[in-house]
Amino acid sequence: MFPIRLAGARFTAGDRPLLDGIDLTIGGDGITVFLGPNGAGKSLLMLLLAGLLIPDGGRIDWNGGPLPDAGIDMMFQQPMLLRASVFANVALALKPLGMKQTDVRRQTMEVLHRVGLGHRSEDSARLLSGGEKQRLALARSWVRRPRLLLLDEPTASLDPTATEAVESIVREIRTEGAKILMTTHNLGQAMRISDDIVFIDAGKVREHTATARFFSYPQSPEAKLFIQGELPWRIAFEP
C-alpha cells in the first residue's frame, strides 16, 4: 500500500479547483497531520487517499497499484451513529468481513475496552457525550485493524480532557503499527502528536516537512502567516 503517491492530482467543483495539482508521497510510518485553514482542501485530500473520490486530473497510486481491497479505514468529522447500541455501532464495521459472531463479539469488546467504553457497550450510541462519540468512532475504525487510518478532524469540537483522551488512543493505534493521517486546524495538537506535517492552503501543498522543522523554520510564506496569525487565536479558544 505504501508509499501512496499523488502526482498532479486535481479535483474541481464546476470550474473551481478545490485541489490544484497535488504532488505528495505518503510513507507507511508515524502520524502525518494535514494542516491548513478551513476550506484548504484537507478533507477532500483524505477522501482521495481513502479511494472514496477519484481525482478529476493527475493520478494517485498505492505503492504503484490501484486502491487495495482492505486495510484503509476512515473516521469522519461527523461519524455516522446508528440508532443502536455502542456495541452494534462498532460491530457494524466487521459486517463485510463475514466473521463468526463470537469473534465479532470478542474483537468489538476488546476495542471498546481500550477506548474506555467497555462499560457502556449496551448504551445507545446517540446518547453518548461528544467525547465518547468520537472514541466510539475511533473504535469503529480501529476494530478492523487497518494499515492506514484516516482521521478527519477527530477532536474538532471536544474539550481538552476529551481531546487528550482521543490523542492518547491515536498514539496507541500508531504504536500497534498503523499509519495515521489526520487533519486538524489545531496547531497545538499538530505539534503534540505528529511526526510530519503537510501544510495545505488553497488546494495546494505548500510544505511537507518534519514537525519540529515546520514549526521552527516554516519555509513557505503561507505557513509562516498561518503559524503567526493562527497560533494566538487558537490558544485563546482552545486552551
Partner: protein, 274 residues
C-alpha cells in the same frame, strides 16, 4: 444487528404463512353459488342453506351479484351453480352452452315503491305498465338499478311495454348498484323504484317510501337454477352442484323456501314442480 434484521424478515414471513395456513385450513367440500342480491340480502339463503349443508355435508359459498354479473361469473367458470332471475338471459346462457340442467326454483314478485304522498298517482292501479307510464308523465324521480341485474332487466321490459324511453325521461336516475343502495337512494330522493319484495321487506331505511303497486301478474319474478357446464369448465364441482340443485327443487327444499317469512309474510313461492 444484521442478524436481528434477518430475524425480523423471518418473523414477517412466518407470521404471514401462519395466518395463511389458518385461513386455508378446513378442506371441507364446498360449492360456489353465484346468485343475486335479492336472494342473499333478503335473508333467504341464511335460512335455507344451513339445512342443506347439514343434510349433504356440502358447504355453499354464496357470491351475491346482479343477475348479469352472476351469469358472467358462471361464464368465466368462477362459480359451480348459478341461481338468478332473468328468464331470457338464462335461456341464452343455456343456449350458448355455459349452463346445463336449468330448473325452475321459485318466484317472488316485484313491487313498485314510492313516496307515500304519491305525486304520480299510481297507488291502487294494479296495472304495472300503466303505473310506469304515469311515473314517466309526472314530475317525479325514478331510480333504476342500472346494473344489468334481473330487476333491472324486468324494469326495462316494463318501460318498453309502456312505450316510454326511460333515457328521455328527466327524472330517471341510474344507481348502478344493488337493490339496497338503490332503495337507499330512492328513500333519500323520495323517488319511485322497482324493487323485489324480499329485499324491500328486509330493508330497514325506508323513510317515506311504501309499496304503491303490487300483485300484477306481470310483476311475478321467477328464479331459475343451473349448473355451470362442466364441458366448458372441467373443474366445476358437478356432483356437489347437482346435489344442491336436486335438493332445492326437491319437496324438502321447496317447503323450506316456502317456510321463510319476514314479519309473517312469505317472500318466495316454490314452483319447481308445477
Amino acid at each position: 444487528m444484521a442478524n436481528r434484521f434477518r430475524t425480523l424478515t423471518l418473523t414477517f414471513t412466518l407470521v404471514a404463512s401462519l395466518l395463511l395456513a389458518s385461513t386455508a385450513a378446513r378442506a371441507e367440500e364446498f360449492i360456489t353459488l353465484a346468485s343475486t342480491t335479492s336472494t342473499d340480502q333478503s335473508g333467504l339463503f341464511g335460512f335455507i342453506l344451513p339445512k342443506f349443508e347439514a343434510q349433504s355435508g356440502v358447504k355453499v359459498k354464496v357470491v351475491a351479484l346482479g343477475t348479469g354479473q352472476a351469469l358472467d361469473t358462471g361464464r368465466r367458470g368462477d362459480a359451480d351453480v348459478v341461481l338468478v332471475h332473468d328468464r331470457p338471459a338464462e335461456d341464452r346462457f343455456v343456449a350458448e352452452g355455459w349452463g346445463i340442467e336449468r330448473r325452475d326454483v321459485m318466484y317472488n314478485d316485484f313491487v313498485i315503491v314510492g313516496p307515500k304522498a304519491d305525486p304520480a298517482k299510481i297507488k291502487g292501479t294494479g296495472d304495472a305498465v300503466d303505473a310506469f307510464r304515469r311515473i314517466a308523465a309526472a314530475p317525479v324521480d325514478f331510480v333504476s338499478r342500472g346494473d344489468k341485474s334481473g330487476t333491472n332487466a324486468a324494469e326495462l321490459r316494463f318501460w318498453k311495454e309502456a312505450g316510454v324511453d326511460p333515457k328521455a325521461f328527466k327524472g330517471y336516475k341510474e344507481a348502478g348498484s344493488g337493490m339496497g343502495p338503490t332503495l337507499n337512494m330512492s328513500a333519500s330522493l323520495n323517488a319511485y323504484t322497482l324493487a323485489d319484495r324480499g329485499t324491500w321487506l328486509s330493508f330497514k331505511n325506508r323513510q317515506d317510501l311504501e309499496i304503491l303497486v303490487a300483485g300484477d301478474k306481470r310483476l311475478f319474478n321467477p328464479y331459475g337454477v343451473m349448473l355451470v357446464n362442466p364441458a366448458k369448465h372441467p373443474h366445476v364441482k358437478q356432483e356437489a352442484g347437482r346435489k344442491f340443485i336436486d335438493w332445492i327443487t326437491s319437496a324438502d327444499g321447496q317447503s323450506t323456501i316456502a317456510a321463510y317469512k319476514i314479519s309473517g309474510e312469505q317472500l318466495f313461492f316454490p314452483d319447481a314442480n308445477k
